[in-house]
Symmetry: C2
Subunit: 286 residues, 2 copies
């Protein structure tokens, strides 16, 4: 009954829309972008997980093409901008057309933290952080459930990018360190490296063996956060430099004019341009 009711309601709205507008002018749907909102039941996380998927427009010459995938944390925040960048830059052949998967949060304090910790940036105890430390579990969800789903249902190639901001930036770095097989390129916009007594700096120092081979692309940045937020990022940058990893192509950008929330706009743009710096349309879809 409910679904019949909903259907009839949709039909009514559809008809109303047509009747109301058609007298004034011709109406078309805006169809420049193609986005789905999907939900999969996650056994790993024991909950339904929602995500946006943006797919490139294909035409008759590109039906057999496959695309890199950007897995984007905080999808509800940054999916729209990243989809717009990717459509525009790929149209002008600066980067390849790509699929964007914007993962929507249920509990970002759980999923997007590498360790259990209830102390905030300001040194206060915050009981809402009790669920923290869920990174490993979340990576399993990505590796065993979300990525296979995307690879089965969309025209992916083998190049995967992982992008995150703030807690999400810490998360992409942690993934690079402890699950390096999962992604080819990482974007960490203002990673919360202050988290848990700079947990991630210890993690990085331990996992990255000096002068080892590390074939990854890595972009990280911060804005005007300043203080110990900025100091932690600078220390991390120094650590990365000192490790002299072979094959790692990395870049650190500092945006003193941008705040924690505006910086993703400029940093994600620069990150895409950096990852695809040497890309030429003629060579390869990656």
């Amino acid at each position: 009954m409910t679904s019949l009711h909903n259907f009839l309601k949709s039909l009514l709205l559809f008809l109303l829309f047509f009747n109301l507008k058609v007298n004034a002018q011709k109406v078309e749907l805006y169809n420049s972008i193609s986005n789905d909102v999907l939900t999969i039941p996650s056994k790993v996380l024991n909950e339904d997980r929602r995500f946006y998927v943006h797919v490139p427009k294909t035409d008759s010459t590109s039906l057999n093409k496959t695309f890199p995938v950007l897995y984007l944390l905080d999808g509800e925040n940054h999916f729209h901008i990243l989809s717009a960048y990717i459509d525009y830059l790929s149209h002008w052949e600066e980067i390849p057309p790509m699929i964007v998967v914007g993962i929507i949060n249920t509990d970002r304090k759980k999923d997007l933290t590498p360790s259990k910790n209830t102390i905030t940036y300001d040194g206060k105890n915050d009981t809402t952080l009790r669920s923290s430390g869920g990174n490993e579990h979340f990576f399993q969800f990505l590796q065993k459930e979300l990525m296979p789903y995307i690879e089965t249902n969309y025209k992916t190639n083998s190049f995967n990018i992982f992008g995150g901001h703030s807690f999400g930036g810490n998360t992409t770095i942690n993934c690079m360190l402890i699950r390096p097989e999962m992604f080819d390129a990482y974007i960490a916009v203002s990673p919360s490296l202050w988290w848990d007594n700079r947990f991630m700096l210890k993690q990085a120092d331990e996992k990255l063996k000096k002068s080892s081979v590390y074939n990854k692309i890595f972009f990280y940045s911060d804005g005007n956060e300043g203080g110990s937020f900025h100091t932690a990022v600078l220390k991390f940058d120094k650590l990365i430099l000192n490790k002299t990893l072979k094959g790692l192509r990395f870049k650190y950008n500092y945006y003193p004019k941008e705040s924690h929330m505006t910086e993703p706009i400029v940093a994600y743009y620069d990150a895409l341009r950096f990852i695809y710096k040497d890309w030429k349309k003629s060579t390869d879809a990656k």
Copy 2:
């Protein structure tokens, strides 16, 4: 018959969509953005004109709110990015929520040029430029048809911005000079000031009276175009400086790392931030 046929086709697609997807996972429509594609018959231009309209999400607390409007040239190119910026920045209260009207070209060489001229940037004769010089006519379309339509059908306030790139940048500058009553703020991303022996520099010199009152906000920029493209922009910048106009708040940005086609991404962002530099949510919807 045709509209019944179209309706049945839509209904069939609607049902098919539901049946195909619902078995795999729950499906929702991506509803973060609300865009229309509209067409109005223009008497001034003697043709139908299409445009995109992006409206802010409203909630029960903002039903009586009104919004500034950004009229954006080359809508097919930059509408998606500008809509994404505006949604994001207004969500984080850096700028007000705004309506974006993305005007789709029919003949941009006609509408977006201030004078008749068939000589290209490279000094060649180009017969496809025969229709050039349509700015005045196009401004009439905006002033008499498009803007009244938007003001009647959307919740506009009285603050209007005019944004354009390349020929479109020349056009927004020309509008500021010859129809200054139409807009409050102007964005000219890489304006083609080289056009017709620097026609627009003569226009600016003639129309802008030294030390006169000119209550406008004006952002202009160029990328790595170089050569006489860049020289013309520099000369224009000097002219604006020398005019010492009272009330004009202006900024020139140079982006040597961005090309003619990538520069709009960074320039439009900076332009929005500049226009609303002193805006605070608490003060005013503008």
